[in-house]
Symmetry: none
DNA sequence: CATCGACCACCAGTATCCTCATGCTTTTTC
DNA sequence: GAAAAAGCATGAGGATACTGGTGGTCGATG
């Protein structure tokens, strides 16, 4: 079990780490929100202890960012014990909330408790990467696409094109660009292959292909998703 | 399924939106009662999450206003857990009542539950949106336009422009404004694209395009429908 | 091995969109 | 009230995108 400890106060990070590793947990450290998100991307992390007041990117924002793609337990740490902060934290998706100063043993107990619940639920399997746009949810892990909860069957190429557009949500990609990225080779001039695939995707993800809600054309430029 | 989230605390709106969109729901946001009512008019909304304590127009008043014309499920959100408030809210027409702080997953579960009940009752069929102006009837659900009972074939852009004008019946919209709303991007100067589309629309919905009955020009300002 | 179905590429015809040039109408200016 | 300016309407054509259909490839199936 690997735990990420995030606080801008290095002494606190060190002391928490000490207690956790004494319990047999593997510990990663970060000292602001951005750093935390980096570590999360680069490592398998099972739980995060997160301070709220931090420079760069505060705890709440970090948490919200995290929750866009992942579901691991997060214990918030804060000096404020006011209800409003607690509410905000829990609403933003925290699993627990501990106010400073705290008893290290209590923190460890809470960590154990969260991990127990988390692993027992088999959620560890569910660590996935989602890209969401309106009612369209793309799971880049299992390569599946859901529309308003309904699974949509796309062919491999269709999926690749959609994922590419989803990863560049809002940005317009020309047919050429799409061809290069999906096929990994130069496109031929006078080819409307992309257009045909776009039509097929639309037939599957748009209610009314004439009025695309998601996959839109930008005249003379290319396609975009938004 | 589109959900409107209303709270004056932007952080809360953001976090709720996050959880909902991860579930594949399309989300709209508003930060006070008036704004909420506007969004409700301009969009097809299937459920609303509504905070009670808000400036401008509070949640209860907003709810009562809404209930004069529509029947979608509404989940009230409040910091107060007193029975009196709960009763007041439910009496005013709310379908559920959640007190802060709440567990996001619980809220999502309640949303799902309300939507299930709502859609299973077939109420969603009744939420058809018609805009009628004289002999002109626009069905925003099927994106079709009828003129004196006859179906009119409009191209997607033509339809969008007409729908936009219809939703703002009587109000004058400048070419710029129309461009921004329909294309979702800034307009270019010295462009008479809108004028051309307006002509095409007129050719289809007006008997005598020279003397428009519906789509009228307001000199120096823009176009309007009435 | 033959058959079938899924998937993909390509083509040609059609629809849609935008631009340009120009004519017309209203407003402003003198 | 006439000329100038500004705003809108019109017609036509080229560029771009969409659509339906055809044929080819490939792997699965019997």
């Amino acid at each position: 079990m690997r735990i990420l400890v995030v606080d801008d106060d290095r002494d606190i990070v060190e002391s928490i780490s000490l207690f956790l590793s004494a319990e047999g947990y593997s510990v990663l450290k970060a000292f602001n929100g951005l750093e935390a998100l980096e570590k999360l991307n680069e490592n398998t992390v099972h739980l995060m202890i997160l301070d709220i007041m931090m420079p760069q990117l505060d705890g709440i924002k970090t948490l919200m960012k995290l929750r866009q793609s992942r579901n691991i337990p997060v214990i918030l740490l804060s000096a404020k014990s006011e209800d409003a902060d607690k509410i905000l934290g829990l609403t933003a998706g925290a699993d627990d909330y501990v106010t400073k100063p705290f008893n290290p043993s209590e923190l460890v107990a809470r960590v154990r408790s969260q991990l127990r619940r988390y692993t027992s639920l088999g959620s560890i399997e569910k660590e996935k990467n989602y890209i969401v746009t309106g009612g369209l949810a793309i799971d880049t892990e299992s390569k599946t696409v859901k529309l308003d909860g309904e699974k949509v069957r796309l062919t491999p190429i269709e999926y690749k094109i959609l994922e590419l557009l989803a990863k560049n949500k809002g940005r317009v990609l020309s047919a050429d660009e799409i061809y290069r990225k999906v096929w990994n080779e130069e496109s031929v001039v006078g080819d409307n292959t992309i257009a045909v695939h776009v039509r097929h995707i639309r037939e599957k993800i748009e209610i009314n292909p004439k009025e695309p809600r998601y996959l839109k054309v930008v005249w003379g430029i290319g396609y975009k998703l938004d």
